[in-house]
C-alpha cells in the first residue's frame, strides 16, 4: 500500500476521492518552490516524452503544461490540429496510436468533444491528461482554482464559492463543482437562466439568480468567461445587457462592503463578465491562479508517471 495513487489518467475530478485531491494539492504545494529555484528544473521526468495534443486554441493552458513538463525535465512535442494530419481527417485514435508508435509516455489532450480524454485513455497505454474536453471537465483548472482558494483561506471546509456566468458551456465550472464539494466547500452558481443547466442542483449546488445576492453570500467568486465561440443561439440579448445584469463590477463589490476573493480562469472579456477595476483590484487572485497552474500540472504529471507503472504491472492492456 502506501500513498494513494491517481491511476493512469486524469480525466476529471468527478472520479477522484477527497484523499486523491488532497494528494495532488499537497504535491503541488511542494512544486511551487521548484519554480522559485535558481535553476527551475528537477530531473523527476527525465527521459519521459510528453505530447501536447491540442485540438482547440489555447495559450495559457498549453504554455502552463509546457512549463510544467520542462521543469520536470520531460521532452515535449506540441501538436495543434491545424497544420497536422488532423486537418486531413485522421481520427483521434489514429493520431494517438501513431504518436505511441514513436514511444511516447504521456498525452495531454484538449479537444472540443466531451469525453474525448477518457475515450483516448481507454485505447492507449500512455498516461492521458485532460486539458479540457468540450463541456465536460478541465481538471487541472479546477485544481489550480482550488489550490488558490486553499492558499487564501487556509482551508476549504465550509468555504462559500459562487461560480458566476456561463455555467452551461463551462467545463471549468464542472471541475470546480466536483472538486470543491468533495473537499467540503459550499458551491453556488449564478448566471442567466439560459446559461445555467436546469439539472445543476443534482451536483449538490445551489442556484442564486441575482449576482448581488451571490456576492453577498460568497467568500470567493469564480467569474467564468462568456464563451462566445460556443454560443450559436440567442443565449443573451447583448454583451452590454449581460454586463449590466451579471457583470462583476466595482460598484457591486463595493456595495457588498466585505472582503471577497475574485478568480477568473481567463481569458477575460473585460467589461463583459468582469470589469477591469475588479480584475486588477485588491481582491483579485487571477495572477496567483496562473502561477499555481504550473505547480498543479507538475504535480499531476509527476503523480501520473507513477500510475503508468502500476497499470503496466497489472497487465492493464486489455
Amino acid at each position: 500500500m502506501g500513498a494513494p495513487s491517481l491511476g493512469k489518467d486524469l480525466v476529471g475530478l468527478e472520479s477522484l476521492s477527497a484523499e486523491q485531491l488532497r494528494l495532488i494539492l499537497d504535491t503541488a504545494e511542494r512544486f511551487k518552490e521548484v519554480s522559485e529555484r535558481p535553476i527551475k528544473k528537477v530531473p523527476a521526468l527525465r527521459g519521459k516524452t510528453i505530447v501536447n495534443l491540442f485540438f482547440e486554441p489555447s495559450t495559457r493552458t498549453r504554455i502552463s503544461f509546457e512549463f510544467a513538463e520542462k521543469r520536470l525535465s520531460a521532452d515535449t512535442v506540441n501538436v495543434a490540429s491545424s497544420g497536422s494530419s488532423v486537418s486531413k481527417g485522421e481520427t483521434l485514435v489514429d493520431t494517438a496510436r501513431n504518436l505511441e508508435a514513436m514511444r511516447i509516455d504521456m498525452v495531454v489532450i484538449r479537444h472540443p468533444a466531451s469525453g474525448s480524454a477518457e475515450f483516448l485513455g481507454k485505447r492507449i497505454g500512455s498516461n492521458v491528461v485532460n486539458a479540457g474536453d468540450g463541456k465536460h471537465e478541465h481538471p487541472t483548472q479546477g485544481l489550480l482554482d482550488i489550490l488558490t482558494l486553499r492558499d487564501r483561506f487556509g482551508k476549504l471546509e465550509g468555504l462559500k464559492v459562487a461560480i458566476c456566468g456561463d455555467v452551461l458551456h463551462s467545463r471549468v465550472a464542472r471541475s470546480n463543482i466536483w472538486g470543491l464539494t468533495k473537499l467540503g466547500a459550499q458551491v453556488a452558481v449564478c448566471g442567466p437562466a439560459s446559461l445555467v443547466p436546469r439539472d445543476i442542483g443534482s451536483l449538490g449546488v445551489e442556484v442564486i439568480p441575482r449576482i448581488d445576492d451571490a456576492i453577498a453570500w460568497a467568500d470567493a467568486l469564480n467569474v467564468l468567461r462568456l464563451q462566445l465561440e460556443r454560443m450559436t443561439g440567442g443565449f443573451i440579448p447583448s454583451l452590454r445587457e449581460y454586463n449590466r445584469v451579471f457583470g462583476v463590477t466595482r460598484e457591486r463589490i463595493e456595495r457588498a462592503r466585505k472582503d471577497i476573493v475574485i478568480m477568473h480562469p481567463g481569458p477575460m472579456n473585460r467589461g463583459v463578465e468582469i470589469d477591469s477595476d475588479v480584475a486588477d483590484g485588491p481582491f483579485s487572485v487571477i495572477l496567483p491562479q496562473v502561477t499555481n497552474g504550473v505547480a498543479v500540472r507538475m504535480a499531476v504529471l509527476y503523480l501520473l508517471a507513477g500510475g503508468a507503472a502500476d497499470w503496466q504491472q497489472q497487465g492493464g492492456s486489455e
Binding site: G2, A3, P4, S5, L23, D26, T27, R30, F31, E33, V34, R37, P38, I39, K41, V42, P43, A44, G47, K48, L72, Y302, L303, A305, G306, G307, A309, D310, Q313
Partner: protein, 179 residues
C-alpha cells in the same frame, strides 16, 4: 517476528551529537559561511539539533536548511506510486559556502548522490561535507562520510532505524532483523 536491538539510546545519541558538533566546528575552522542542510525526514531534525549545539559552543546562530531529494532519486521511474515529497527550504545562497549535509543513516550512498546533484542546481558551494548519525555500510556508490556518530556494519537483511523525539516521541537508534 522481527527482533530489535538498541544501538544508541537517548543519552548515547545526545553524546554523539555533542561530539559531532565539536568535530564539525573544528573541521570548518569555526562557523563562517557554514550552512547545515538536513535531508528529509529525520536528517532535518538532526541538523536542527546540531545547529543548536553549535550555537551553544560558538555563541551565535548558524543557518539550517531542509532538502528533499525525492525528485532526484535514480529509481523514480521504477518505484510505482510516487513517493510523497517533503519540503525543501534552503535559506541562503550556496555559492562559496561550506555546506554540511546531515542525514540519519548512510547506507547505499544513493540519497547522498541525489543530494549532491540537487545542491549543484542551487549553487556552487566552496565545499560540501557529509555528516551522519549512523554509517551502516553497504555502499553502492563511492561516497564516504566526513563525520560519523556510530559505525555499525549491518547485513543486507537488517535495517537501522533512527527515531527522533520531534517525530517519533523518543530518541533511539535500533537494529531490526526480519528473521
Amino acid at each position: 517476528m522481527p527482533s530489535r536491538t538498541t544501538l544508541l539510546d537517548d543519552r548515547a545519541i545526545a553524546r554523539a551529537l555533542t561530539r559531532i558538533a565539536s568535530e564539525l566546528v573544528e573541521r570548518c575552522h569555526g562557523t563562517t559561511d557554514v550552512l547545515l542542510v538536513g535531508i528529509q525526514r529525520r536528517g532535518v531534525e538532526l541538523a536542527q539539533r546540531l545547529a543548536r549545539l553549535i550555537e551553544g559552543l560558538e555563541g551565535h546562530p548558524i543557518p539550517c536548511g531542509k532538502l528533499d531529494i525525492t525528485l532526484y532519486r535514480d529509481d523514480l521511474s521504477t518505484v510505482g506510486a510516487r513517493p510523497v515529497i517533503g519540503e525543501t527550504d534552503l535559506p541562503e545562497d550556496l555559492d562559496g559556502r561550506t555546506v554540511v549535509i546531515v542525514d540519519d543513516v548512510l547506507h547505499t550512498g544513493r540519497t547522498i548522490r541525489a543530494a549532491l546533484d540537487e545542491l549543484a542546481d542551487f549553487g556552487r558551494p566552496q565545499r560540501i561535507l557529509l555528516c551522519v548519525l549512523v554509517d551502516r555500510g553497504g555502499r553502492e556508490l563511492p561516497i564516504q562520510p566526513d563525520i560519523v556518530g556510530l559505525v555499525q556494519a549491518a547485513r543486507p537483511d537488517e535495517r537501522v532505524d533512527v527515531f527522533v523525539k520531534e517525530l517519533d516521541g523518543r530518541d533511539a537508534v535500533e537494529l531490526a532483523r526480519s528473521a
